[in-house]
Symmetry: C2
Subunit: 140 residues, 2 copies
């Protein structure tokens, strides 16, 4: 078996459904498990000055929202999704720890041409850090 | 069908057999065609001063050598290889034109940690230029 557990890194942009669909087709062809992960920005990193008391609440709300949207994507994938995970913090770090926790052997991520530099930098980090194969899907 | 024609970009290092093997397994699982490509350095770019008369001969010899080694890899792949191609020049440019010529829909390439910066730069070029999916396999 080429890959046993595929994880798709989802940024919840409008192209996410396309990426999930591609990941689902690949997982189905290979008989692999499929999971979805979304890594949110770390809100604590955005506020270096006084921290608002509502930060925790805001973070929780964003996390719930992300979880809801991930579940929607999972339900429309046309293939059973084993785990939907929402984390926050450094993308490559979080994905590497997920890889270890869930015995993932393939990471799928998209890249947009429009906010290129940001994605390139996440992708570059992933390329240099991920211990497993990485499938990069170009998005419009 | 997720992918119809997979091409593996081979640098003819000692890890090439591992990469070919992985590409062959994936192609087999997906019922896709498999091709191998090696992009040689462009010798003309290395000599900016006086150009030796034997440059053409040297280039031809290197190309024949690369073709022989690609054929060996193809024969040991355990899966039929449709095309073995040797080119020279800019990696991402050559691969993009191969993608178009052969209707490739997935490119597989390895990356070494040891001569990282060089590969990162080829990979970065590939990420930003390839119109199709790119599978990056970490090598030791």
């Amino acid at each position: 078996m080429v890959y046993k557990h595929i994880i798709a890194a989802i940024d919840l942009s409008e192209d996410s459904a396309y990426l999930v669909n591609k990941a689902a087709k690949l997982a189905q062809s290979l008989g692999a498990k499929l999971s979805l992960v979304h890594i949110d920005v770390d809100y604590a990193d955005l506020y270096t000055g006084l921290i608002d008391i509502n930060l925790a609440e805001m973070h929780e709300r964003a996390e719930n929202d992300a979880q809801t949207r991930l579940h929607e994507l999972a339900n429309n994938a046309g293939y059973p999704v084993a785990h939907t995970l929402v984390g926050s913090g450094d993308l490559s770090e979080e994905i590497c720890s997920t890889i270890k926790d869930l015995n993932v052997d393939l990471v799928i991520c998209g890249h947009h041409q429009d906010f290129w530099s940001k994605i390139l930098s996440s992708t570059r980090q992933l390329i240099s850090r991920t211990p497993v194969d990485l499938l990069i899907v170009p998005l419009k």
